[in-house]
């Protein structure tokens, strides 16, 4: 790694260059604070690399263009924030249904509605999981530093390609705009995953073939395979079906391709878990604060550890269960009125007292606020 590769980047910049490093060659978007820099950077960089950028007429069109490009064969991405993310939900559901790899970056700001365009929040935690109608299984990643935003964007693209599934990357206003030093790796240091392509003769090709992994090879347009895709529930050929056996098969496929691979997809970080009976749980930018809080509290002789989900969905159930085995107190720090805390309530042993450290006034929670929660509740 040469010193030339050190940059002072904004989170949004890191995300943009991570996308390029991962091979993203199509971006469709619509400006919205605090995500706009991603569109601006990719508008500048993509054509230089033979890729395509388009500013669509709204976010409904943005995600539509992204899915269209993906089906045609591109690695496609969009970036937005709350109001835009809400507009994307119907077509995002379509992407899950037709199993189109794509990445949606949501640089979270305060809501509901127009909310706080320039202030931080983590209130789309549940929307990222449940935002569109119907049963589907999203992959949702988070990042907690500028460098992390770079690598998590690469991971988001790779996972979307590997599992033929949309991946949502939840960033936030502070991370998107703050500047930190980052090392840009050499091209050959980055692992790139490409979607599985069909090898069968075109007459045999089923775009939603039932396979042991539940992942079906995906042909691009103009590659010798002609096929149909629809948002209607469909059979392995992509044609609409009303047969209950085929409906169930499709619905199971959508769930299982993700749920059978939770160990590959769902990652988390821990600090000081072994000797702790107090566990602070936080993701994204709040995990940075929580890390500091844990250090302060340990200095004050509290036996505190940190559990940081890096993948929000599927939630790292196993990891959190294990981390809470000996915990009598769990503090859930998040920038909303209590969303991730529901997962902790679902997974914690009965003996664990669960306390929320919530902040939803557009500001970051401070380490002291978390430390005070520890003191109060302990």
């Amino acid at each position: 790694m040469s010193e030339n590769n050190v940059r002072l980047f904004q989170g949004n910049e890191a995300c943009s260059f991570g996308a390029l490093a991962a091979g993203v060659n199509f971006f469709g978007g619509y400006p919205i604070t605090p995500s706009t820099e991603i569109a601006e950077i990719l508008a500048r960089e993509l054509p230089k690399r033979g890729g395509h950028f388009i500013q669509m007429e709204d976010e409904i069109g943005s995600i539509a263009a992204v899915i269209g490009a993906s089906v045609a064969g591109a690695k496609a991405m969009t970036a937005t924030s709350g109001p835009g993310f809400s507009l994307m939900q119907e077509n995002l559901g379509y992407a899950f249904m037709i199993e189109a790899p794509c990445v949606v970056v949501n640089v979270q700001r305060g809501g509901p509605s127009t909310g706080l365009p320039t202030k931080v929040a983590q209130a789309d935690t549940m929307q990222a999981k449940w935002g569109s109608h119907g049963d589907y299984n999203p992959i949702v990643l988070t990042a907690s530093s500028v460098e992390d935003a770079y690598y998590k964007t690469i991971r988001a693209v790779n996972l979307s390609e590997k599992y033929r599934n949309p991946v949502i990357l939840l960033l936030d206003e502070v991370l998107g705009h703050m500047r930190e030093k980052i090392h840009i790796p050499e091209e050959d240091e980055i692992k790139i995953v490409n979607r599985l392509k069909p090898t069968v003769p075109p007459e045999w090709y089923q775009p939603f073939e039932i396979t042991p992994t539940h992942i079906s090879p995906m042909a691009g347009y103009g590659e010798g395979y002609r096929f149909h895709m629809t948002g209607l529930t469909h059979d392995p050929w992509g044609f609409p079906t009303a047969k209950s056996s085929e409906i169930k098969e499709k619905m199971d496929k959508l769930m299982l391709k993700i749920s059978q691979n939770v160990d590959d997809i769902s990652t988390y970080k821990e600090e000081f878990i072994e000797d702790s009976h107090i566990i602070v749980i936080a993701y994204g930018i709040t995990a940075r604060v929580a890390q500091q809080a844990v250090r302060i509290a340990r200095h004050k002789r509290f036996k505190v550890g940190l559990f940081q989900p890096e993948t929000l969905w599927p939630f790292p159930d196993k990891g959190l269960k294990k981390a809470l085995e000996n915990a009598n107190l769990a503090i859930v720090a998040e920038l909303n009125q209590g969303q991730m805390i529901r997962e902790v309530q679902r997974l914690a042993p009965k003996k664990t007292k669960i306390v929320g450290a919530f902040r939803y006034d557009g500001e970051l929670i401070t380490p002291d606020e978390i430390v005070n929660k520890i003191k109060e509740a302990n």
Partner: protein
């Protein structure tokens, strides 16, 4: 011109998908036939075509056609098509939209695709009603006509897709009807050959809903209405507005030669030196 029937079979997913979902006598099948014959006349290869539709009776068309076909969400076909055309500019991209699909919920995408003048041929099936959902009024339902959501007659004013497309910057607009199947085929051919955003509005009969609610009779009667009320654009020029009162104008209504978007974008890539010299070696492919 190739022999019609065999040509159509060549382009259909014959064995797999028939019988189709449309009501007996529905005009959508005639429009599909005209489109496929136009493709055949131009000897367009099936693998070079991407056909994208929204939701509605009209939106079901791609499932029967042996191209790259994408049946998307209500109103969004043109936005999906935009992503496809931009990322794979060599494809012939055709969007199939209904009047509700393309002009109400999808009106914004229609306008902006026309403004960008991106090379998409849009077939607008105008049956003046929402077919699939059971006969509600649409942006093209004439004032005073009945629909299930206009039980006292439509109070709203319809708009003219021609003026919309022209005003927004499309390169081509033509209109015909399911009575004029051959003209439709010729116009679609012109649209397919035209670079830029091109629209062919095909007036179609929804006798099941529009016809019944407005006492306009059977499929045959409605199709005859198209015969009796169509005025070719060249003849229309010589008529007064009064004479054209309950008529519709057919033929090529608008043609322009503004630069096309995806071509401009490819030129930009070249200008920036972004064209890949050679394809990179295959990256590691995930094992199944």
């Amino acid at each position: 011109m190739a022999v019609a029937s065999t040509v159509v079979y060549e382009y259909l997913r014959g064995k797999k998908k028939f019988p189709h979902v449309w009501c007996p006598g529905c005009g959508i099948g005639i429009i599909m036939g005209a489109l496929l014959r136009a493709m055949a006349d131009l000897e367009i290869k099936k693998g070079d075509v991407a056909m994208i539709s929204g939701i509605g009776c009209t939106g079901r068309m791609p499932v029967y056609c042996d191209f790259h076909t994408l049946h998307t969400t209500h109103g969004r076909a043109i936005a999906f098509a935009t992503g496809i055309k931009l990322s794979k500019p060599d494809l012939k991209v055709v969007a199939i939209v209904g009047d509700g699909d393309g002009l109400a919920i999808g009106g914004n995408h229609f306008i902006h695709a026309a403004r960008r003048n991106i090379d998409i041929t849009t077939i607008l099936v105008n049956n003046k009603i929402y077919g699939m959902t059971g006969g509600q009024y649409s942006p093209t339902t004439p004032t005073g006509k009945f629909a299930t959501t206009a039980p006292y007659g439509n109070l709203e004013h319809p708009f003219d897709a021609y003026l919309l497309a022209k005003g927004a910057g499309a390169n081509f607009f033509a209109r015909s009807s399911v009575y004029h199947a051959t003209q439709l085929q010729v116009l679609i051919k012109k649209a397919l050959l035209k670079k830029g955003f091109s629209v062919v509005e095909a007036m179609s009969n929804c006798h099941t809903l529009y016809g019944r609610l407005n006492k306009e009779g059977s499929a045959v009667q409605m199709i005859n209405w198209f015969k009796d009320h169509a005025v070719n654009v060249n003849i229309a020029k010589k008529k007064t507005p009064e004479e054209l009162e309950d008529k519709f104008i057919t033929g090529v209504l608008w043609e322009d030669n503004r630069p096309e978007y995806s071509e401009q974008y490819e030129a930009l890539i070249d200008r920036l030196g972004g064209r890949k010299k050679e394809e990179k070696p295959e990256a590691e492919v995930v094992k199944q």
